[in-house]
């Protein structure tokens, strides 16, 4: 008798996602991120990137559509979905009056991580992100970069399967940005999934396994950089088509009329 391995569910599956404010912000969006994948979501300002990710993180209720995280219906069972997801926004929201160590152990408490395990992970993350010398200082005196690193450490302390990041590199200096990128790369190598929005196309180009381009609330293109170049080929100069940057590809694709992939 032949045995088949059960199909592994995608880390994140979105179908027909809709969110309207005064106008449609997300309009029937569909995308899939696989386990262990670094997925970058890029698009012009107001394209619906942040709204999409806020719905995935459970911060906004969609008007229509489905969101499945590692096979869990996030709309039907949000608590189970949140257990395996972490969210980091561009504006690090941490408590000024807590120290990084206290913040990480507070987050671990929210995610019901065993105290001993939380302590050891906290120490590892503090070292990993060069926060150890400031571990017992209150966050109120920290720079934007340090606050962002504390927020990122908070996202990692409960070892989520899916990490959702909204412009995590905004305002970081080169050294901090490099550290954050290294940590994220290691997470995907360990099997975690990263879904990240960014305006820095060079970051998406270098780090992402696949890139989704969103415009007018719809996914207009998705794939590896090569696939996107191919997709944009008809709109690009020959030299750009053969090894052109993501910036050129992106500009060519967003110039197309909006249509779902």
């Amino acid at each position: 008798m032949q045995h088949f391995a059960p199909p592994t569910p995608a880390a994140l599956e979105i179908h027909g996602l809709v969110k309207r404010f005064d106008r449609p912000a997300v309009d029937g969006l569909a995308l899939t991120a696989r386990a262990g994948e670094f997925y970058a979501l890029v698009g012009p300002n107001g394209a619906g990137k942040t709204t999409t990710l806020r719905m995935v993180a459970g911060l906004l209720r969609p008007d229509a559509g489905t969101i499945r995280i590692s096979g869990i219906d996030a709309l039907a069972d949000p608590v189970a979905a949140k257990q395996i997801v972490a969210w980091v926004s561009d504006e690090p929201m941490i408590y000024d009056k807590l120290t990084p160590r206290e913040y990480l152990e507070f987050v671990a408490g929210l995610w019901c991580v065993e105290p001993a395990l939380a302590t050891s992970r906290t120490e590892t993350l503090l070292d990993w992100l060069d926060l150890a010398p400031h571990a017992d200082e209150r966050c109120e005196s920290f720079s934007k970069g340090m606050r962002q690193k504390v927020a990122l450490a908070g996202a990692l302390v409960h070892e989520p399967r899916v990490i959702i990041l909204d412009e995590p590199l905004t305002g970081l200096d080169a050294g901090s940005a490099r550290q954050v990128k290294k940590v994220l790369r290691e997470r995907t190598q360990a099997g975690g999934t990263i879904v990240m929005t960014t305006h820095i196309l060079e970051v998406a180009e270098r780090m992402a396994d696949r890139i989704g381009i969103i415009a007018h609330g719809k996914l207009i293109a998705e794939g590896t950089l090569e696939e996107l170049r191919h997709r944009a080929g008809t709109h690009m100069q020959a030299d750009a088509r053969d090894g052109g940057s993501l910036e050129e590809t992106f500009l060519a694709l967003v110039a197309e009329p909006a249509e779902a992939v």
Binding site: Y95, D136, R138, E140
Partner: protein, 511 residues
């Protein structure tokens, strides 16, 4: 017509525009479409206040110029002046520490002394304008019933606003020099709050200790105090005489006030940039180390949230001082309680509702901090905990903090009268729960540092919280004497809450 750029008049136009827009934003809670409703509300309030003023000061409009009248006016003016100084000190501290446009001004080639002079003058104007609408109904009634001489009271208000600002500038700068920039921000705000509360509380304390009543009138009308008061021609009475329309005292009060302000502007404006730069140099906070780890033991998510709320409150002395400042008003009833031992229940009937009222107000402040003032809302919302658990943990944190504050007072009441203690416990619990519910219905995401502005974010919530606390205090007062009669005020309080709930925004997008 616009004045030439960089001149004092040009700066004055700029400041007036900012003040006007800020005031408009505060009064309409940032929604211009509410302006009409707010205007109608203000007019209705002013009309209502005229009726209140007619009842309160109407009988005194024809008062003769004697020691009793001068003492009453002087004390009332002093009370208002303390509040004005408090208000002006807060404004001055904000002007030193708020970075809003200081970087732009200090980096520009214009003479910033002019702007800082204008800014201090604007604070004087703002302080006066805040007091005028509150005083106007009383002064209008006095004019209507006592004649034009009472117009002088308007002049006195202007003089008081100007002098209060000058004094507040002096006090803040003195703190700046003595304590340094880092400590002044916190200390000045606490001093401002204490000045605002101290005088009224002080009067009540003296009245309780001397006459066994919480009423200030008993003290002001006492023969002992009148005998101690100076003669009618003493300069101490000039502000009161100014209010009564005597030209010479009015001129002297106004001249002295403006001279004080001019001196403050001349002294501080050239140094304002130094103070502002020093204040900016301390940043938002110094490095504070906390070695003790409060989260290391095993905690449930609810336990972690409760612990977090308590730690944040404990570590923010300004926030705690703002919240606990309401407790200052508990000093007089506590004193009454102390005197009331052995005198039976009459004093307790006064104390219990005061405690209930204070509990409602304290719970309202704490509930705002816990429910709306969340600095990491995304973190809490993305935690794998049902929203009702998060809410329950925050409410538990609030109610337990209220319980800790009031437990000793209730225990003291229980020694004298178990029945009054029971009423107090029930009243404190219900008032605290009601205020927490109001804050929950009107929750809107904000930083904890915006605590000061919580009352302008929803006027309805602020009034509902106050009226609910008053309602439950009245219920407790009546229940102390007769349980059945207390049903009427309790029903009124419930109606307030019901009406508030029906008007509250209940849309909640987080799942």
């Amino acid at each position: 017509m616009s004045a030439a750029a960089g001149t004092t008049v040009w700066f004055a136009q700029h400041e007036s525009r900012l003040v006007w827009r800020d005031w408009l934003s505060v009064i309409t809670a940032g929604r211009r479409d509410r302006l009409r409703v707010v205007t109608i509300g203000i007019i209705a309030f002013v009309v209502f206040m005229h009726f209140v003023a007619y009842w309160v000061v109407g009988p005194y409009a024809g008062a003769a110029i004697d020691k009793q009248t001068l003492l009453t006016i002087t004390t009332s003016a002093l009370l208002s002046w303390m509040l004005m100084i408090s208000q002006a000190m807060e404004s001055i501290t904000r002007a030193f520490y708020a970075r809003s446009d200081l970087d732009l001004i200090l980096a520009s080639p214009v003479d910033s002394n002019k702007l800082f002079g204008v800014r201090i003058a604007t604070i004087a104007l703002g302080t006066t304008l805040m007091a005028l609408p509150l005083a106007a109904p009383f002064i209008d009634v006095l004019i209507a019933r006592g004649g034009w001489r009472w117009l002088g009271a308007y002049g006195l208000i202007v003089g008081m606003g100007v002098a209060a600002t000058a004094l507040a500038v002096g006090l803040t700068v003195a703190l700046f020099r003595v304590l340094g920039a880092r400590r002044t921000r916190f200390v000045a705000q606490v001093v401002a709050a204490i000045i605002g509360a101290a005088f009224v509380i002080g009067l009540q304390v003296v009245a309780i200790l001397s006459y066994g009543t919480i009423s200030r009138t008993a003290l002001l009308q006492s023969k002992t105090l009148l005998a101690l008061a100076p003669g009618l021609d003493n300069a101490l009475w000039w502000p009161a005489r100014a209010a009564l329309g005597e030209i010479l005292p009015l001129g002297a009060v106004l001249a002295a006030s403006f001279a004080l302000l001019a001196a403050a502007v001349a002294f501080v404006a050239p140094r304002f940039d130094t103070y502002a730069i020093t204040a900016a140099g301390v940043g938002n906070a110094s490095v504070v180390r906390s070695r003790r780890n409060a989260f290391r033991e095993r905690l449930s998510p609810r336990g972690a949230l409760r612990r977090k709320e308590w730690i944040l409150l404990r570590r923010d002395p300004w926030l705690m001082s703002q919240t606990l400042m309401q407790m200052l008003y508990l000093v007089p009833p506590a004193l009454m309680l102390w005197r009331g031992f052995g005198e039976g229940g009459s004093a307790l009937q006064l104390v219990v509702p005061v405690l209930v009222m204070a509990a409602g107000q304290l719970a309202g402040g704490l509930a705002w901090l816990a429910i709306s003032g969340e600095d990491a809302p995304d973190l809490v919302a993305t935690a794998p905990v049902p929203p009702r658990f998060i809410l329950r943990a925050k409410i538990e944190a609030v109610l337990s903090a209220v319980a800790i504050v009031f437990a000793p007072l209730v225990a003291a009441i229980a020694i004298t009268s178990p029945w009054h203690a029971l009423v107090a416990v029930a009243g404190i619990g219900v008032a605290a729960a009601a205020s927490t519910a109001v804050q929950f219905w009107f929750r809107s995401q904000a930083k904890r540092s915006q605590f000061r502005r919580r009352q302008v974010s929803s006027r309805l919530a602020t009034f509902a919280e106050a009226f609910s606390s008053i309602g439950w205090a009245a219920t407790a007062a009546v229940a102390s004497a007769s349980l059945w009669l207390a049903i009427a005020p309790a029903v009124l309080a419930l109606l307030v809450l019901g009406g508030t709930y029906s008007l509250s925004p209940r849309a909640n997008n987080v799942w």
